[in-house]
């Protein structure tokens, strides 16, 4: 793997709060690296340090073989901040051209590229309208287009699809998979597990400033979840605790996670376990609303590692 980004022992503190805590990882060319974590996990802080817009307290970052504060390196990267960085009184086209001028892309070349990208993100009708009339989702799309103007070799995206409708999110995924290239590295932060799964070659799961697990999606699920998950829902939410106690008698407590009134049981052999669970719960008088076997997701990885959910599933 040719390394595009090498992060080592990166730490950032804001007062007493350690936003990023000794984080290390590498990203290779041709790779999409996902940073998955709940609100406040430290994704934006980490990404801002890699983009060179905030300075770390400790640790080192090597980007494209150099130092990120070096202008020549920065000419080859681009950064899409979480909150759209746009000028409300300028049109969509003017915003893109302004940012591309900062990369030395001007005149006809800039105009053509801006037109092409505006089309790619579905804003044709709005190219010459001031950004102040754009909706939140439209601003996010323009913000993404701005980050593509210089065809960066390292693209850093901070929650690029947050606030977009599901269809638009899928179109952005499509766009990102199209620009994926053996000579380009992409770092993307998200709190959507489906987004992380759909886009990333490797995922780092972040919580409280640390990377708590890292690897290919399948490997992560295999190591931290199980082959299958038995998901049980109850008629009476009060039964959740009772069911958990019953199951703990013969299952490992760490394989049982109670969440939002339901229970998830991690198992390598669901076919034999499912009938047994149904029977045992019936015996203790728990009324089951549904019981099914599902595939584990990254959410399950996070659940098993932290006992918490990343966020409410959207869409």
């Amino acid at each position: 793997m040719r390394v595009a980004v090498r992060v080592n022992g990166l730490t950032k503190r804001f007062g007493d709060k350690t936003a990023v805590d000794k984080v290390s990882f590498n990203v290779g060319f041709g790779e999409v690296y996902g940073l998955l974590g709940p609100n406040g996990a430290g994704k934006s802080t980490l990404i801002s340090m890699i983009a060179g817009v905030i300075e770390p307290d400790e640790g080192t970052i090597e980007v494209l073989g150099g130092e990120v504060r070096d202008s020549e390196i920065r000419a080859k990267i681009n950064y899409c901040p979480q909150n759209p960085a746009l000028y409300d009184d300028l049109t969509g086209l003017e915003n893109l051209i302004f940012y591309s001028s900062l990369y030395g892309i001007t005149g006809r070349r800039a105009l053509e590229k801006a037109r092409e990208l505006i089309k790619r993100v579905g804003l044709e009708g709005y190219a010459n309208k001031p950004v102040k009339i754009y909706s939140g989702g439209m601003k996010k799309r323009l913000n993404l287009a701005a980050a593509l103007m210089n065809e960066p070799r390292l693209l850093i995206l901070d929650e690029p699809t947050t606030g977009m409708d599901p269809q638009m999110r899928r179109e952005v995924w499509q766009l990102l998979s199209e620009i994926k290239d053996s000579d380009r590295a992409i770092i993307i932060s998200t709190h959507y597990m489906d987004e992380a799964e759909a886009l990333s070659d490797r995922v780092a799961i972040m919580d409280s400033g640390r990377i708590i697990a890292e690897g290919k999606t399948e490997d992560l699920k295999r190591s931290y979840a199980s082959k299958s998950v038995i998901s049980i829902e109850f008629f009476n939410p009060d039964d959740q605790q009772k069911a958990r106690e019953a199951l703990c008698r013969y299952l490992e407590p760490r394989d049982i996670v109670a969440i939002n009134g339901s229970i998830r049981v991690y198992s390598e052999d669901p076919d034999t376990l499912l009938p047994q669970i149904s029977l045992d719960l019936f015996k203790v008088g728990v009324k089951i609303a549904s019981i099914r076997v599902v595939k584990p997701t990254l959410e399950d990885v996070f659940l098993r590692l932290t006992g918490r959910r990343i966020m409410e599933v959207e869409g």
Partner: protein, 420 residues
Amino acid sequence: MRASAIKAFVVKDFKETFRDKVAVFWMIAWPLIWLVLTAYIFIPPGTDRPMTMRIGLVNYDVSPGFPVNGSILIRALEEAEYKGVKLFNVKIYEDKALLLEDIKRGRIDAGIIIPENFGENLTLGQTTLEVYVGARSIQSTQINRYMLERFIEEFSRVVSEEKIAWAMKFIPGEYVPLEVLEVVEGFLRGLAKPVNATFTEVLPEALISREAWIGWYTIGAIGMTMLYSGLNIGSTALLEERQRGCLHKILASPTTPSELIFGKILSGILSLSITSVAIIVFGVFVCGAKIHWSPLRAEHWIAPIMLLVLASLTLGMGSILSLMVKSVGGASNLSTSLGLMLAFLTGIWFPREWFPAWMRILADYSPATWAVDAIRDVIVFEAGLMEVVHYVIGAALAALAVLAVGVMIYRRMLKKYLEK
């Protein structure tokens, strides 16, 4: 530094500023409103012309047989002029009561009652005039009364001369020697007017025509606008980019701090220059300001140079101000109030001659005022280079120093922003 990056900031800021209604109001509309108000309310057209007094007359004199009578007085009043402007606007009344009524109502400034036998008495001895002066304000009363006194004195003198000439005819020449006659006539003339004074009007340097005054205020409007707009632009330049979230995106690009700072200062100077040109054009073509500018006159180039100096100075002052504020809103409010206050207190908008001596010190040591006064002296009062050179050098040095401090502050701010 890359020109493309600097140009990007200038173009972007220009579009942003002039598409923002609030900015356009403060940078263009507001100074123009002030200028019009000043030109038409505080220095209304006609301020620099001689005043004409409205005067009422009742003529009770019915002695047409005498060489001087009431009609002659009236004609003399109507013909009196100063610098080609009639001194009196005469209105004839039927009786005294009506005349007094109009003085009370302010319709006329003064009234004269010409009594019965005015001509006869005047010819043969002495007569009396009843003069009423409207006492609206102490100063107008003083002026009106003085004008009438002067007129009546002059009228008396002319009549005296007539009477002397007339009297001399009655002295029989064959009995009195000619030398004695000359002495008598000289003596009589001396009685009529013992002192002959000559009056010459000397134009003081400070006598300012209305057009020049408007020119003075036009440059003042530029100074005032530059103060609050320059402070505003200077204090919000980086803060606004940061508050909008665009600063991180800019810092992530290859843009260097120097390019960003230089671009920002240049865009500020451009906006302020556009404002200045708009104010000058408006002042000259709408308000009638007298401003001389010719590219062929070397000293006239002081004006654009001083405008640049003033812009740099106020932008630099703005950057210093940004140390004291936390938000764009706070910076704008502070800049506007501070800018207006400075304009009023340092002799930029109000002439410092109006100030008490202790207050003038502020104006005397304000580099912004030096720049504004240098421009005024050169293009409004046609001063030469040597007369303003001390202002020019002082303002330029101050601007350089303040701008250098400003750039340092910006650099430090950017560094701090990188920490969080």
